[in-house]
Assembly symmetry: C2
Homo-oligomer: 256 residues x 2
Amino acid sequence: MKVLWVFAHPEPRSLNGSLRDAGVAALREHGHEVRESDLYAMGWDPVVRGSDYGHDPAERLLVGEASERAAREGRLSPDVRAEQEKLTWADTVVVQFPLWWYGLPAMLKGWFDRVFVKGFAFGLHDPDTGRALRYGEGPLEGRRALPVVTVGARESSIGPRGVSGDLEELLFPLTHGTFWYTGMAALPPFPVYAADRASAEDAERETKALVERVLSIPDAEPLPFRRQNGGDYDDDLVLRPELAPGRTGLDVHLDR
Amino acid sequence: MKVLWVFAHPEPRSLNGSLRDAGVAALREHGHEVRESDLYAMGWDPVVRGSDYGHDPAERLLVGEASERAAREGRLSPDVRAEQEKLTWADTVVVQFPLWWYGLPAMLKGWFDRVFVKGFAFGLHDPDTGRALRYGEGPLEGRRALPVVTVGARESSIGPRGVSGDLEELLFPLTHGTFWYTGMAALPPFPVYAADRASAEDAERETKALVERVLSIPDAEPLPFRRQNGGDYDDDLVLRPELAPGRTGLDVHLDR
């Protein structure tokens, strides 16, 4: 594998830091190539600004248009292009973060906001049908993406009927709306529950489990999201009425 | 009303900017008080760092502990305290943003990450039972919160069975996981669909609708999320099996 490991935690001496160290080391020991984006260590700037696109501040900024034009013309800011180059190189992306407010830390969200621009991560069309290539097709197709996420909540309270909502559904904007949207196969998340209260034994067990998970990425079964252009959605991009009978919510977009 | 209007768009000359201007003006015309947090204009820093808590970089940073201690001792950084003071003052919070990657822009996510710390926005316990006061109870109880969100997708593709997932479920980490968690009543979002392609007529119609929505906030029916301590969840914080029969996913946490 050629793995890009994106890490978004402010403290390398944390449980997150040791999980990352163990995962990266195990991959290298097994002959895989690893590159890292340690966002805090890099001093990554997570804020989308016109300056990313060389935009003239006197003019009204249309983020979508300006970012697409800059991407197509190779004029994105150098820090963004460096991340895009890593993504282009990789066949596997590990995205590791603590769950804050049931989502990504701002540092990581802004990595996607700035790097995944139209013209790089999406915006392709089928030359024959003219259809947008997204959700299962797109510029990042052929890659697999694994979320590694530490959670303060215990497993029951963030499970299918737990008070906080099911973790897999809370991560849908990442797994489906970002990975799958751009063509990447999304792997089931690797969660560490009750991470704030992890004992040394817990940490050891989770570290071992993570190493197993990352080494088995090539054999893992991705989440079975439906393809936008696979026939399951109508021309308004609504799931056909005969599919997922009796099911509701985000889960209908999984073909299982 | 005492309204805090949080705005997270990089371009004041945008559709978002004119919606905000119209909403704030209408509130003031009707005698309501409005304070603003225009995050881009303020140069808000969205990144959680130990320096928020006066943390010694030589020591390992435990974000939860360090932030709670700093909050209780009044030592959070001045920009965070200024936002907390606005929240304490307000009885109504409007949070306006463009939907990026099916979530909040990093700039806005980092407002929650930094401002909503334990000891300010959560962390209270019932003095009699010892139970955590969250999801319907908590330090921000008594406030109402309205998300105003512009979306690139057309309505059908981000509706209940649209390919992108239902907008209300995509926003669950904000409405339920943040507003409701801290005790605020979450109002149904005000969405503007196909915002990138809005004509002048579309903008006029949406502006009028937004003004009506914000003026009617006191009469609006909040999303009927269940209270953590209302008897619907068991001691493992799992929804009791007899509730929401035949329903799945995040929607089971709504009592309807």
